[in-house]
Amino acid sequence: MRIKWGDFAVVALILAAAALVFLLFAPEKASGPLTAVVRVDGGERRRIVLSDIPEGEILRIPLEKPAGMVIEARRDGVRVARSDCPDQVCVRTGWITRAGQSAVCLPYRVAVRLEGGADDIVDGIAG
């Protein structure tokens, strides 16, 4: 029995279908470029890919509110540089440089977290 061109057509169609389904529904990998994510009251407000920042530069990230808070990002990390909150826990955290680290201001409900990166090997942190 000879292979007809119809066979090739069928095979090509099936391979294409499989590839399409796979691409559409394949799980997203957890890692990606190291990204600073700023959330206020639980909602995402800013997302900065750190490698987009030129070497040696410090990027100021303004927020609509709280007005007194200054967040800074550079190639290797992010920090809360200034805050009007009474306890200053967020400011005292300093620069965070690894995926999973975060600086949180509870009084102002601001959470700055580094996500992505190659080292995402825990799902959560107790304590």
């Binding site: 279908a17 799980p27 009251d41 009474p86 799902d123 959560g124 304590g127």
Partner: protein
Amino acid sequence: MGFFMAETATSLSRFLRAGGQAALHEKRRRKASRAAACLAALCLAVCPAGCAVSPEKKEMLFYAMDTAMELTAYGDGAEQGINEAYQYILKLDRLLTNKDEDSEISGLSRAAGQADVTVSPETAQVIDAALEYCRQSGGLFDITIAPLTSLWDIGPEKTSRPADSDIEAACALVDYRRLLKTGENAYRLDEPKMAVDLGAVAKGFASDGAAAILKGCGVKSALISLGGNIYCVGAKPDGKPWRIGLRDPDGKAGDYFAIVRVTDKAVVTSGDYERYFMLGGVRYHHIIDPRTGLPARSGLRSVTVIADSGTLADAFSTALFVMGVEEAMAFQKRHGGFEAVFVTEDKQVVVTEGLRDIFEFRGGQEGYGYED
């Protein structure tokens, strides 16, 4: 995989066509068999790709009980489960908080030495569970510790410590045995100025309730973090256990000295770094020893308890911190039903026997010691 499917498709196609050739209406049969082959092969092609489809992730970050909370759930029912769990936690916060004088717990404390107070069933559940852990821990976890916690009012802005006489007076008001159950959902504090503080158990209790709600909505996989009180529902969507880091007492938020691999477990840590202030080189932290009225000096930096119940894990992480590592290890052996990790002031990490298989030490670089 593509080639395998192509071969299968081609074979199927040929097989059906070969069978069809023997039929009377050959042309129609040939078309039909080709169509059937395509359909069958398409289904085959999609199936392996379909295995790559993972359940959809839903998450919510919000603030309650004075802290940041995060709910992450997967699959059908995740969105509904998260919304219901969120409402439940807010409701519990309103009932149990000490920060609002309209809460049921504030009402109970205000009536100390005067009257019985009836509370809602949820509040009663927390109080009953907490009292049981007070008993089991010999009072080292004590929910009537409010006079001491409000006297110390531990926070980063503090600059002075209370007078010894005030500490002594507050200590005398701390005794869980004098929080009496007087009827169904009814309680009474036996002496004026006694008060209830559920801060050491509320988040653990809330995590149990949130987990039950998520499961009730059909969620098989979820990660609950209530201010660092972790509850893992089921395993991860890929079937592997959740990997939970244990916070490094000296690190930033996000740094850990170990990882535990858990399924359907609560993981709760009490540490001297969570709420404290420094005075004269001494760390005054928020875990008060009810016997002395002072922050517990037991040689520990943190205790993590892993258990099926978040309420138990929360209550016992406090009690074990006050006990110190030797007494706590003995308590764990006698009591059973949970595992624990201790970090001492000498940076030694001690782990209960049942944890060894799921415990991954990562603290070598930060100077922690661990005997395998």
